[in-house]
Symmetry: C2
Subunit: 301 residues, 2 copies
């Protein structure tokens, strides 16, 4: 049986190995992933994003505990380089949250952020697809830097949670500038700190002043370390699933994965740096090279 | 005269307009950019990155003042959504640092982070190219989230400065996990705060324990708000230019720009979401669609 078949049958070791070759883009990963993709579209994909230190990992941990208590299986992909989950991927010593280490219903995978083309977010999608094909009910993708990437988690997750910390105009400034539109749910974590109520209130005001929408993002206060506010958060996630077009998000993930592979293949086979360097010599600038290359391949309207 | 010709001649309004159409990817921006790219390769491009709140904008401000005092012209592209520079791009009220508002030798441009495909970092490269063609001596690209993007500033700037704040294992944890390798210079900003010496010492230790390299990144303490440490930082930047392969970095920028345009054209002309949706119907999964599409166009080895 292929790795994909074994992963689909729920075999953790095969899934872990497939994630590794998908991440490295080695071996027969494309043929394996073809099988995997055919088995996706069932899991609920939750994105958790926020600045380093806002407590995303602790919140993820609390959500895992919550969903496990309901008997749901959970997969976690951590693409935050400062996360304790993904620290391991970079440093070589893969760390699992101690709490869930012996729970077979939980599968945590860190995604290295190596910065190679088409790598990061595409790998995260591959990993989410493998979790999905394995039959995980809930998939959590933890990431920093919403609004930074070309395509960010808010367009790929069914529900996008933005975590902020109490206090300070700085946070609110950051919120103003881009993340207000992408959050389906706001979490004010570390809500036992000074200024939590004010931050929550400011967020609500800004949301009310903003564009009208069918789904108004709730603002949930949590103390993830003490598992406080997690039920309310989970309720918000459940409610949001009635409002979000999950098929649309699934299509966005498929298209994103296709574009990632497309770019990857082009960079590695026919639009390589070496080839580009040659073309640049005769054509002088990157845009002329690109337009001419597209025309030569019948790809330009 | 075209916008590009006028920008190359140093006309600020034409340059600003060209940046706008390049950012929006409207009009004749490709033909204009072809002219611009032919005039690039002279400026020194400095990347400044670090978490929100680390003081990147204040540091940028201090560096502008420094370089202006030496008679050098400066262009700034801010791609940090939480930056006071780029706040304007998103909120609609474009903000310039008050200090430099009347200085014709300084041109600050914020880059909206709208998350559309091929948008963010490619736009930043277009803007840097326009600065370069205008004859700016120094170009500063301010960004958050190094190690997050597929391609980050460290592979595109001649010198990459990573700004950290004093204190806490959190910072060091984040540093461990990815940014140690990408920094050409470390800045411990807000160095009048507790723990600055320790953070600087920890950084140095980690660098010394890491892989041997020809250029050992210096760790510079600054208080950007008081313009303290800026001379030393500028000295570090100047020294680093003797060690970095600027032609290599310039090539990386050209290739990155080409890939951005390539992806943009594919997404908008022959590998559109609608076309992909059709292909998906008969072929079932994103990777089969992509591989078959590449083969049909003679693009797969």
């Amino acid at each position: 049986m292929s790795l994909a078949d074994r992963a689909i049958a729920g075999e953790v070791r095969a899934a872990a190995r497939l994630m590794r070759i998908a991440d490295d883009r080695t071996g027969d990963y494309i043929q394996e992933m073809v099988k995997i993709w055919a088995h996706t579209g069932h899991a609920r994909i939750i994105g958790i994003t926020g600045a380093p230190g806002s407590g995303k990992s602790t919140l993820t941990d609390a959500l895992i505990t919550h969903y496990r208590s309901l008997g749901k299986s959970v997969g976690v992909a951590a693409v935050d380089p400062s996360s304790p989950f993904s620290g391991g991927a970079i440093l070589g010593d893969r760390i699992r949250m101690a709490t869930h280490a012996n729970d077979e219903g939980v599968f945590i995978r860190s995604v290295a952020t190596r910065g190679h083309l088409g790598g990061l977010s595409v790998s995260a999608m591959d990993i989410a697809a493998i979790f999905d094909a394995m039959g995980k009910d809930i998939i959590i993708i933890e990431t920093v830097g919403v609004g930074q990437d070309e395509v960010d988690i808010s367009s790929l997750a069914d529900t996008c949670i933005v975590v902020v910390m109490p206090g300070a105009g700085d946070d609110i400034q950051a919120i103003k500038a881009g993340i207000l539109e992408v959050a389906d749910i706001f979490v004010v974590n570390k809500a036992d700190r000074d200024g939590a109520d004010r931050t929550a209130r400011d967020l609500k005001t800004m949301l009310e002043l903003g564009a009208k929408r069918v789904w108004m993002p709730p603002v949930v206060k949590t103390i993830a370390l003490k598992k406080s506010g997690i039920e309310e958060l989970a309720e918000g996630i459940a409610l949001h699933s009635n409002y979000s077009d999950n098929e649309d998000k699934h299509f966005a993930r498929l298209y994103h994965a296709a574009l990632g592979l497309l770019k990857d293949r082009l960079v590695n086979s026919c639009f390589t740096p070496d080839r580009f360097r040659e073309l640049l010599k005769t054509q002088g600038d990157p845009y002329s090279v690109t337009i001419k290359w597209l025309k030569n391949h019948g790809l330009e309207a």
